[in-house]
């Protein structure tokens, strides 16, 4: 049967949150939605009264056999993951925390996924349903606690990565996965070009790879799945054994590469599979860390945004600035095509006519 594990800290403050939103709409005063405030750097600064979701917490439904968990947005991500771990289950998108206070709502709002993403899916791929508060302060529910649901528009997945600009997320239902039966991480010395060729070749084969990164002359791989296939693949690939902590450090940006000592900006390049190295002036191999089998590349560089973005766009991708010397960025996200931007504005106007939800978080004036 459905299990819930009430914690002393569990509480439902959605009524109060709704009241606060209603008031903000009435006054036309913007809100800055805050969970654990661990991902504030990811986006534009918001001028608004802080509205915290942290008190709205707790797992509301969890039945491991259904592979679905429903959880209030203020619940610490660590608390959710610990409960799943007790049942040998995981969040398939392996979300970064970027701090001990990270919340489930922040994970959904930013939509950031970890090393497993190319194989298992993104945060959005695991979202099944959402409860939200609209600009009128109404509680609404979309999607639900079922794997398949195509009734109405997919509001649940639209909210992922919208960074709270369309409504206040109060609860989310997620698909969870069983923890893999076996896991082995390894490190292979090889130049970048060879790593890219090998990853393209392996990508066409049913190998149990769930993470692949390259940096400074070495390819890092994680194998996960049934014990038999992991053992066989380990045998086949060889290499040096790698501590699985590596993936946590990569996910959390605690590897040396991400160090704050380095004053250059931190960029995230999102590129199609099998994109060759971008020829960027003044960028050395050591300035890049390839994650997601090369589809997510971290770059330390003070190259100007336009040059970088043009290079990414030519390759079919885009670039996001996560940190820069100057502090908060004017335009951390790649500008949208004018038509797409128009429909972004239309959606915002329809769902948040007073502009109270995190205005300007993704783009100026939106």
């Amino acid at each position: 049967m459905a299990q819930t594990r009430p914690q002393a800290t569990d509480q439902d403050i959605s009524q109060a949150l709704g009241e606060r939103v209603r008031q903000a709409t009435a006054e036309g005063s913007p809100l800055r939605i805050v969970g654990g405030d661990t991902k504030a750097f990811y986006g534009r600064a918001v001028n608004g009264e802080p509205l915290s979701t942290r008190e709205h917490r707790g797992i509301t439904t969890y039945d491991p056999v259904e592979l679905i968990v429903s959880v209030r947005s203020g619940t610490p991500l660590a608390e959710l993951e610990a409960t799943l771990a007790e049942n040998s289950q995981i969040l398939g998108c392996e979300p970064p925390h970027f701090g001990t206070n990270a919340t489930v709502g922040g994970m959904v709002a930013t939509g950031l996924s970890g090393p497993r993403r190319p194989w298992a899916g993104s945060v959005r791929d695991f979202v099944l349903g959402i409860r939200m508060i609209t600009h009128e302060g109404r509680q609404q529910r979309f999607g639900g606690e079922v794997m398949k649901n195509v009734a109405g528009y997919d509001l649940s997945r639209l909210m992922v990565g919208a960074q709270g600009t369309l409504g206040l997320i109060t609860e989310v239902s997620l698909k969870v996965l069983p923890k893999p039966g076996a896991s082995h991480s390894l490190r292979l010395e090889m130049p970048l070009a060879e790593a890219q060729a090998r990853l393209a070749e392996w990508g066409r084969q049913p190998l149990p790879i769930t993470a692949a990164a390259w940096h400074a002359g070495a390819l890092y791989l994680r194998l996960e799945g049934g014990p038999s296939s992991v053992a066989a693949t380990r045998e086949r690939l060889g290499g040096d054994e790698l501590d699985a902590e590596f993936w946590t450090s990569l996910r959390e940006h605690t590897l040396e590469f991400f160090s704050g000592e380095d004053s250059r900006a931190l960029w995230r390049l999102s590129l199609p599979h099998n994109t060759p190295s971008l020829a960027l002036d003044g960028v050395a191999e050591a300035d890049l860390l390839h994650d997601w089998a090369g589809t997510q590349r971290w770059l330390r560089s003070d190259l100007d945004a336009d040059t970088l973005r043009e290079a990414c766009a030519r390759a079919g991708g885009h670039a996001t600035c996560l940190r820069s010397r100057q502090g908060p960025q004017a335009d951390p996200f790649m500008p949208l095509e004018p038509v797409v931007a128009k429909y972004h504005r239309n959606l915002k106007t329809q769902l948040d006519p007073q502009g109270i939800f995190n205005p300007g978080r993704l783009y100026a004036e939106r």
Partner: protein, 499 residues
């Protein structure tokens, strides 16, 4: 209960002159094939929901993007509704034409534009058949995962519009999990790219919003899908049970053992017998239920998992377990399931296929409910169930030539869907709302939620010209059917227009 477009409830449609529109389109979109004579329109009067038929005012069969663009611009200017249609295999009437609308048929956009084995993507025109994608990817050891049972005929554009599923969703996801990018033409005739060949795109996830939007937000003109490496092997186990509930519990036990099967299907006695009569799949006809459990992946893991599943099924009280000994036998086991709908069709002049989803734990309660409704209405119901992901396909048997039977079947179907909602599920898992389940939407969503849906529609198509009347009911319709919660005799949002 007639579900055809009713202007009183679904909104007034513009009064337009067919001849005028025809002349206008002929002039503004040179070379565009336009059908307007009754005998030419007839083949397009319905999709897979063939109980409902409407002759469209005109049928447009464009071959170029410029023609689609001109058509949209003119229809937008003239205020003519546009219903987009792919292969016409949809089961919910999503492509049911409008008497006062143009039916935009995308079937001539049927080219596979590119298969890139290293990037593991395929770029497709919307009229490409689902199965043709996997066929084109096969030489590279790749395939396209979503496999709706109509995959020989259904097209990828329709799959995106409906967020189509299949028998492998629990492990490989729905269409939304396997599409990377779409090219769209808006109702105003603008071109727009959503998503990316990279794993994400900047801005809001409009790709997710468009997937499953049933042609209400834009016309999809190109799709880039993700391809997966073909699993090394797939093996299937068939277990029989003397009790449906035991079979239902066994499904949970398999998941609890940490296994995600590639496919996990359940059939009840009526469906088993129908399938066995039809395709001789070797099903145990005395069983109350069977489970088909397919495990795929790397050979060594699959063998381990087969052993684990066998133990789980034994413990769960299976009365018989068979593992397909070879590919031929595996195909035979599946043939019964894949032909379950036509098999049931042989038992009865007509059948009506439902598509509700439920949390799996509610299966015994829902099956009991269905049995009670079946008795109440005096119509047989065969149950076919994507057990792994909670998607039920009860098949209601009836005879449309008997006066009142179609209405009875629809009413029974509506009851089943409302029961699905009551236990925390949904009225549709993969077939879409279309016109068929428009009234049941009022049970799943409250007026506020429906208003939010209308707001989304207004962001993309404020004049309500794209596929009007589908997917999202008007508040007026919900009020009429009484499924809405009315407080103090007052409808919520009295300020809203009641079209």
């Amino acid at each position: 209960m007639n579900i055809l477009y009713d202007e009183r409830l679904d909104g007034e449609l513009p009064q337009i002159d067919k001849a005028e529109v025809l002349t206008d389109l002929q002039q503004s979109a040179p070379g565009l094939t336009l059908l307007h004579r009754e005998e030419d329109l007839r083949p397009f009067e319905c999709d897979g929901l063939s109980a409902y038929r409407v002759l469209p005012m005109l049928v447009a069969l464009p071959e170029t993007l410029e023609q689609v663009e001109s058509l949209m611009k003119r229809c937008h200017a003239l205020g003519v509704p546009v219903v987009t249609r792919g292969a016409g295999t949809g089961l919910s009437g999503g492509a049911l034409p409008l008497e006062k609308g143009v039916l935009l048929v995308m079937s001539r956009f049927n080219r596979i534009l590119d298969v890139d084995p290293d990037a593991r993507i395929a770029r497709l025109q919307p009229g490409v058949r689902n199965l043709a994608i996997s066929e084109a990817a096969a030489p590279y050891g790749l395939y396209y995962a979503p496999d709706p049972s109509s995959q020989i005929a259904c097209s990828i554009g329709g799959n995106v519009a409906e967020n189509a599923g299949g028998v492998h969703c629990l492990k490989y996801g729905l269409t939304v999990h396997n599409v990377m990018k779409v090219e769209v033409i808006t109702i105003e005739g603008e071109r727009m790219t959503l998503g990316s060949e990279a794993l994400d795109a900047p801005g809001l996830d409009l790709l997710a919003l468009f997937t499953g939007s049933e042609g209400m937000l834009g016309v999809i003109t190109e799709i880039t899908v993700k391809l997966l490496p073909k699993p090394e092997t797939a093996k299937v186990l068939m277990a029989s049970f003397d009790d449906v509930e035991k079979a239902g519990r066994a499904v949970g036990d398999i998941i609890a053992a940490g296994i995600i099967p590639g496919g996990l299907e359940m059939m009840d006695k009526l469906a088993i017998r129908a399938a066995e009569d039809f395709v001789k799949a070797g099903y145990p006809v005395d069983a109350e239920a069977i489970l088909l459990c397919e495990l795929d992946g790397v050979e060594a893991d699959v063998d381990d998992d087969c052993a684990t599943v066998r133990t789980v099924l034994e413990k769960a009280g299976a009365t018989g377990i068979q593992q397909a000994r070879n590919e031929a036998e595996r195909a035979t086991f599946w043939a019964g399931r894949k032909n379950a709908f036509p098999a049931v069709g042989r038992m009865s002049p007509d059948y009506y296929c439902m598509d509700g989803t439920i949390p799996r734990r509610e299966l015994p309660r829902v099956l009991k409910g269905i049995a009670d409704f079946s008795n109440e209405y005096g119509l047989k119901v065969a149950n076919v169930f994507h057990a792994g992901d909670g998607n039920m396909h009860p098949l209601i048997l009836f005879d449309a030539n008997q006066p009142g039977e179609l209405e009875k079947a629809e009413e029974l179907g509506g009851k089943i869907l409302e029961l699905c909602v009551e236990v925390g599920g949904s009225i549709t898992g993969e077939h879409g709302v279309g016109r068929e389940k428009i009234n049941q939407m009022c049970a799943q969503f409250d007026p506020g939620e429906l208003t939010t849906f209308h707001a989304i529609k207004a962001a993309f198509d404020p004049k309500r010209l794209l596929n009007p009347g589908k997917n999202i009911p008007t508040l007026a319709r919900c009020a009429e059917f009484g499924a809405m919660h009315v407080h103090n005799n007052q409808l919520p949002h009295p300020e809203l227009p009641r079209f």
